[in-house]
Symmetry: D2
Subunit: 342 residues, 4 copies
């Protein structure tokens, strides 16, 4: 049993990590942290975790690096706001621990881009070269060897999985990609803010974060890698009245000479061996992926307008956060990639 | 008081018509029809309408043309499925009655297009030349004089209102328009079908109707009129877990030489005198328009990708159906355009 | 046009008051207050109110009594937290203004009971004798003459309307009344608190406020008045995953010798002339009353257990708050009781 | 690996059985049936089950007894409507197979009561003596030995778990029990009926099934067994706008001489060793049990009215249906009771 710690276990992603790791056959959770609830048992703060054996007896600790080092954990899952995550990741990594960071702090290769999109530097940008972008379908072999994995974000996962194989193979136009995504409200975190109240979100569908959502930085980084030329996209996120789920609709065009019929097979073949990507003729629906680590993909071709439509659905808290983090961990730890996730 | 009849009063659009017309200061509803509930009082079938004075005492009749003619109604609102609506519209119109049709039967100018998109002809295509497309912001003066108004559809309204003024003025690229819309479930009607069950729609966001939704026909017809050149767009509708509301996100490009700053003023100026179109810097949210006849519009420019994003929100049952129908009626009847709608 | 002010216009009840009063044919809203948004136009803060003529141009002011006096308003609607409301009600009342208070500050006749249930006194308990409990169906004539009306609470309205006529006529057991109610989340106010987040309320049904909810005080006061003997009930409120609506289920027993068949007629007869109470054989459903000032009532008798079940549904923000306040105002101002409410 | 069949795998309970049994470590699902989808792969009909290894390859068969016998299954889970379930249970049982029936067909000991509540006899009432009521917390030892287990219903589980220990110990009044429950819409099944549409259930809270819900029969049977005297209760079920979850609120009185403080300890002690019943001071909330086989219980005492309030929450599809069925199966098969359920 591998000892792990969950830093920031009281947010929605942290809670989902708890749910997955408490049942993971090769893991023992040895520490959970929460500033707000330090000193309380997890089963009291989050009643869904009561009566689950020794897991329920875990007591939230106040997160600090020496305390975390003393827990004996070998792997640290960081479910913290960006900026704060780096304050834990750096010393833990430098002490030889292995870190799965769910924040955006180490997803970018270029510190300038980080500063442009996140407004200020964080204190550990020198670690960028050693961090691996944690989307297993794109970087599996590097993740296996990494000690610092920056688990990919929720929107990016839903956008990269359909696009990357097509860009790698030159099947679509690099210069013509527009993305409309809708996320459940849990994507905004467990923050006591008026716009996230039930009364504000129910019967409400709205855009936000326009025109330059922070996730654009990692999306374009990975698309550019795939295309081997600079990719700039338009991305419009929406908030939808549901707790979980991201649905993404991508408008693009076929590269010159490419037949529309070749797209679905290209995706099927790219993901043939992947345990968590399902390519199908069926239109994706968030309810089919909620509670799972799957990302569902499909394709339609609009012959009239000669435009390609790519569609995806995932659970923002699982494949978009905690499940993906565990998938990365499984790779890092040499476990079966699907352990604890099916 | 103008006597009116609501044909098909038990669907969601018909029920909303009842709600609006029962309070309309210049209208007396003299007949409501429903095949399924013929013989029952409206206040029994739809308990929200109980105890509302004489309106509650209206008895659903089985719809047939002679019976409708005998009610004394001067205006007939048809909230019926396409194909069926024409069977009522034609004889009523030919008998000199004035008809507001909420179905798609008379929205197209070209019978070939109707057949292409709806699969078969209906029996009254000869009336196409006399029907007016019922979007007051586009065709107000024709609507005033018309005896057969085909009230614009819900998705079309949310797409045409932001696009038409920009196309008319040549501000955007005719050839690069992609639309992603999300509708509340009431848009699918009160049909007892499994995919519309609560358990199937809650926590579900999905695309449907791809790649050639029927509404494309009327959207492109009106866009083409505005642009004075053929417009073909890509349109992806989604079903969102809410009862009411349509949110539309449009991706397009500025025409050559047009400054991005000119778009919001262009919309403001186009709709300056319009009572039901609100142009604002705020991002539209369906909850702000639900229960109203407003359509909210806004704009963002993505400088990085040089793409224009147009956004709109409306209540699919009001500005997208019943409210728009009453707005058309008000024009036809020479009443104040906002009567009963504010 | 009667000039009125809405003090605390940015909460859910205040916003609903705005919606109703902006359309009220005999009212001109001359002031709206909000500490948080002072200086901003109402149409900016609450976009649903944009483009509604002069109403949209109202600027939120910081609430203070001299400022309110200077507005020229004759009637003041107070949509403020309990305790705070009294700080406005007392000086306004003493200056000869008429006040409709939506808070609990003046609903009780006995200051001791106020202190028991609300934890501390407020500064204007001396006005209790001059305040009238604002449930028109119970105290219409006193309301007409009152200058300080304490509009009845949401749960109390849903519980008193079914019970009071039966207690007045001695038809049910005073000593055996248990109440289970469920409210939409807007009942908790627009407060940025974690338990009210979308992610916490969706797919959640829970009890709260047990065993001694503050509303018990006014409920039992009015039940005791009706029964002419002390009534103590059990009341269990629940939070349900919806924005609006209260549904109440009451378990009681018939008084000795009373036939179960007499209960529905007793309610029908008690409310025969009431414009906003609908008694029916149909089981109440919150969706039938949402957006209206109706309270729907029904009855079932459980012959096997010899227990009477009373059921009610109302919109907590309308008949449970803003609509009721306007109904009270209409009576105070000598207007038609239903003005602006149908 | 024990071979099992799921008969009626396309309803909500059947689908949940699939989800649980597909991951059960000691089970191999060898057959799934669905009249409607016979011939199609389960992963096509229910896309959430795609790409889950051999489970996804299962093809729905048309249910008939000889076909089921030929599958090699040793255990048969019947997720069928009442009446129909008996047509499969009887021949399978008589052929020596072991049956877990999720319907109501074998929950009652008295055929007269079945006919009274379900309107007509079914063809296998002669098996009543051999069937065991499948609520493990009440009948564990009998379930272990049974070949025909009638898995307890959703409402009954939420009502029996709090009441039975208190009745067994004589702590509460047998004659004064009133129950108000609210269920998510999935409790009504995947039936294409208008009242279950999203547009009818969203923002709707309503009672139904009054005054004599069918589940009363099994509830009272088990309460009477526990109390050793006849128990008749009042039960009011409600439909709440959520997919999953049942919340139950019970009003009762303490038996003479019983201290209110003794109730929580009595429940704690009764369920001390139970893996799936959590007794706590926290008020139950359906979101804490959704997706789990837990039933959460709590207690409050209303000193003012001298009334005891018992509260419970469960997932109607798990502890109220599929999870309970698997818990029963685990006992029948001599497996660990929690296998596949934690």
């Amino acid at each position: 049993m591998i000892p792990v710690a969950i830093v920031g276990a009281n947010g929605y992603s942290g809670e989902e990590l708890c749910a997955i790791l408490a049942r993971h056959p090769s893991v023992r959770v040895v520490a959970v942290t929460s500033r707000q609830h330090a000193g309380k048992k997890i089963g009291e703060v989050l009643p869904r975790f009561a009566s689950r054996g020794e897991f329920s007896e875990l007591v939230f600790s106040n997160p600090d690096v020496p305390g975390l080092m003393a827990t004996g954990a070998e792997y640290f899952f960081l479910a913290l706001p960006h900026g704060l995550a780096a304050e834990f990741a750096a010393p833990l990594f430098e002490a030889g621990k292995r870190v799965v960071d769910l924040s955006a702090d180490f997803r970018l290769r270029d510190a300038k881009v980080y500063r442009e999109f996140y407004g200020e530097p964080h204190g550990a940008e020198h670690l960028f070269p050693q961090a691996v972008y944690g989307l297993p379908e794109l970087h599996r072999e590097e993740i296996r060897k990494a000690a610092l994995v920056a688990s990919a974000g929720c929107y990016p996962t839903s956008i990269l999985l359909p696009l990357v194989p097509l860009l790698r193979q030159g099947l679509i136009c690099v210069g013509d990609i527009s993305v409309s995504s809708a996320s459940g409200v849990s994507g905004a975190g467990r923050k006591a803010e008026t716009p996230l109240l039930y009364g504000e979100c129910n019967e409400s569908l709205r855009t936000y974060g326009l025109p330059k959502h922070r996730h654009l930085s990692e999306i374009e980084q990975e698309l550019t890698l795939a295309a081997k030329s600079s990719v700039v996209i338009t991305f419009v996120p929406h908030l939808a009245p549901m707790t979980r789920g991201i649905h993404t609709t991508i408008f693009t065009r076929l590269a010159s000479g490419v037949a529309s019929e070749s797209i679905l097979p290209a995706l099927e073949s790219a993901y043939a061996g992947e345990p968590f990507v399902r390519v199908s003729r069926n239109l994706p629906d968030t309810k089919n992926v909620n509670g799972t680590n799957f990302c569902d993909l499909s394709v339609r071709y609009d012959e009239r307008a000669r435009r390609l439509i790519l569609l995806s659905a995932e659970d923002n808290l699982v494949k978009g956060a905690a499940g993906q983090a565990v998938q990365n961990f499984n790779l890092m730890a040499g476990l079966g990639e699907t352990e604890g996730l099916l």
